[in-house]
């Protein structure tokens, strides 16, 4: 993997205090509760926020994959679909836990097999390999009518009822709780030996090998983690739409998943949340642009990709440094 060129700038000293492991989920839960109890947004805004949370969960695994292990995949829509269809088929008859677990297990197994088969390849080749995987997934979703009911999709999938809430608020609450759990796991992974092994594996594979790190195994692990979180995200998307349809889990969904950590800032603990807000909410609130909505969104993505490789994290770091300088200057 080509080395990630971290922009040369005086980064503040890295005080990886462990408090982030609890504070970040706590902040997310607090904001979620505030949205539900205080802000009380209209049904459309709440639905968009729930979609943001769902894609943020899927993006946590992707943040690990791109940010920690430095692996690029454009086929994760397959894992979203695994979670979505498992939920749509199993949620009502077998209850929510079985549906979530089934989606996660199916996605995990596919990820392990695909990972072992494809992860020996270099960047472009792996990325296009996952693109083919996603395309194959769409063909299966469309044509395996006995299970997926083809293009008409499966309707009547229930939703996670939590804390006595009903409708989208309940899905939103479930999404926020699950997001908090996944963010906790992301932070725990960052400071664990596996997380450090992934990071050194991305930055300098020969040195990692000399340290006893099995680089390809850490990459497969990262790929499986991204599949697991995508499955949970997919289940929530299916709940939102009240069913699972092939058009929900197409290549455009996989591209959105890839864009979220890039715009947020690869590897940054807030990248999944911030990235999801930009990638999912922005187009909804750009609707006033009507026809030019997607054109503006495309330009934004290209400019961030080319001129702001660190994403929004780079802006935040610049701001913090600037504030720091003004205070001491």
């Amino acid at each position: 993997m080509t080395a990630v060129a971290s922009p040369a700038r005086p980064a503040p000293s890295v005080r990886t205090t462990r408090h982030w492991r609890w504070t970040q989920p706590a902040i997310v839960l607090l904001v979620g509760a505030a949205v539900l109890l205080v802000v009380r947004p209209g049904p459309f805004d709440l639905r968009v926020l729930t979609l943001v949370a769902a894609y943020a969960i899927a993006a946590v695994g992707f943040n690990v994959l791109v940010g920690f292990a430095g692996v690029v995949s454009i086929g994760n829509s397959l894992f979203l679909a695994a979670g979505g269809y498992a939920w749509a088929i199993l949620a009502v008859p077998r209850g929510p836990l079985v549906a979530l677990l089934a989606g996660v297990v199916v996605a995990g197994v596919i990820a392990v097999l695909a990972g072992l088969a494809l992860l020996r390849l270099r960047a472009y080749y792996f990325a296009v390999g996952t693109l083919a995987l996603g395309a194959l997934g769409t063909v299966v979703m469309r044509n395996w009518t006995s299970v997926t009911n083809g293009d008409a999709g499966i309707t009547g999938a229930g939703y996670l009822k939590l804390f006595g809430l009903t409708g989208v608020s309940s899905i939103f609450a479930a999404a926020v709780v699950l997001l908090a759990v996944f963010l906790y796991l992301q932070e725990a992974l960052r400071t664990s030996p596996l997380g450090l092994a992934m990071i050194v594996g991305r930055f300098d594979p020969p040195a990692a090998d000399a340290l006893g790190v099995n680089v390809s195994r850490t990459r497969v692990a990262a790929f499986v983690l991204s599949a697991v979180s995508a499955a949970v995200g997919g289940a929530l998307v299916a709940q939102l739409a009240g069913g699972a349809f092939p058009d929900q889990f197409s290549t455009t969904a996989a591209i959105s998943l890839l864009v979220i950590p890039i715009i947020g800032g690869r590897g940054w603990r807030w990248a999944p949340v911030v990235g999801a807000v930009v990638v999912i909410a922005a187009p909804e609130y750009l609707r006033f642009l009507d026809e030019y909505r997607l054109a503006v969104y495309g330009v934004l993505v290209t400019l961030v990709a080319l001129f702001l490789p660190g994403g929004i994290h780079q802006l935040v770091r610049g701001l913090v440094a600037w504030v720091g300088r003004r205070r001491h200057g």
Binding site: V14, R15, S192, L194, L196, P206, A210, G212
Partner: protein, 550 residues
Amino acid sequence: MADRTTLSARGLAVAFGALRAVDGVDVEVAEGQCVGVVGANGAGKSTLLNLLSGAVRPDAGTVTVVENGRSHRLDGAPGRARARLGIVRMFQTARLVPDLSARENVELGVPAPRGAWLEALGLPTSRRRADARRRAAEDALARVGLADRAGIAAGELSLGQQRLVEMARSLASGARILLLDEPFSGLSRTAREVVASLIASLRDEGVGVLLVEHDLAQVRLLADRVVVLDAGRVLAAGPVEETLADPEVVRRYIGDIELEIGGGLDDARPAPPVVAVPVPAPLDPAPRPPVLQVRDLRVFYGAVPAVDGVDLAVAAGDGLGIVGPNGAGKSTVLRGVAGLLTATGSVRLAGERLDGTATPHRFRHGLGFVPQTLTAVVDLSVEENLRLGWLAGSRAQSFAEAMERVGDLFGEIAGRRKDPAGALSGGQRQMLAIARALVAGPRVVLLDEPTAGLAPVLVAPFADALTRLRADGVAVVVVEHNLGLVRATCSTILGLRAGAPVWSGPTERFDGAAAHEVFLAATAPARTGPSPIEPSPIEPSPIEEEHLSS
């Protein structure tokens, strides 16, 4: 002795294309023992280390580790299998992750027990193991004197401090055998002492150390036994004092850089080195105007000044040799003059100012450059590489005429015109690189370590080509380790150390004392102005090859 962990290699050999880098080497290092491996640049020291550490797979020979009674064959195993058996390798340049803190970089070295991946789930039970790892890392950092820098991002530390963090990582890894690749290169004198004392205390604690180093002073201090390599073969091995005194070793290895070895060997003045080329006829003494003039050249790596205020000048038909220890900034000067690195200071060629312009512009105005690594574009054929050189040049002559002139200088590669450059041997590629620079019709040619990796037998014809080049009126600036070659082909010499000029003058006056001062820094380097940064104990200096050729 049986239960002591020992790493032993028998008959190790590997060849890169035609060059036999390591050719049937036996070496052994046991716990509590320090074995030095010395040899000229390109003798195969680093390649041997790569073979032992699993980075490179040997063509022949075995690598076995005996660890508390059990012996493991490792020659096929990847690097990570050896790391788990307590064999830790340190690279020549500090390989830390800049975004992670010093402590986290050291924690990477702490061996993780079987169930370590469970910790990724963040279960409260794994808190104990995480704290233990943290403490081990902080203790190791304390031992190298960087306890207060534990939280700083590795990218923020100076190169010397990064090297110490890597040493701390080896300490924390509880290594039984340590493979060190030139740990002292690029360090200031005080830092050398810190690292040397660390290695000594490790050895006394029972760790086996294999020390690849060309700074003989340190080898004498630390090693119990030494192995002298020359062109991939073991020239001599045994206790340090006798081996280094062996006349054959002195002639073949030490004589080469005419070094006054502390004690005993002051008056040994060996015959001039193998190159038996007649010194060019003395040119007319009246100094002609310099065709290339560089004033106050400065090159920065981030905030670290790699080259600090270098001046040089060379007239048409003259040859300037730039010499100095590893990491002195020699290549950086050349790349700075060629515009491949952002540099300040004036560069004037035949009166025209070139500083601030892009490299293609400088080539067009008569500057030729022969890089050390990546000398040719491997996918293109020999003729296409030459054409590439001609396109970048002044195009004063037509391509056919230029090829004609180069053809007689390097007949050998002219014959392989249609072959891809990748198929040429190391030496032939070097010739191609020079031919490519010449075909552009340059007035000045910069050569960056042209004989590195070249088999000794090719050095003589190479020196011959350089001399004929100068006879054609082309000015030559060559960075070279092989002092014999410099003496045979250059009229003036510039000595560099730690990015600053320490000696300059005609070749005749470059005697043992000058070499001593340039290579061993007997006296503090005469710094021209106050160095821009506060004088930190560890002088920064770049490690050019590794950094640039990535």
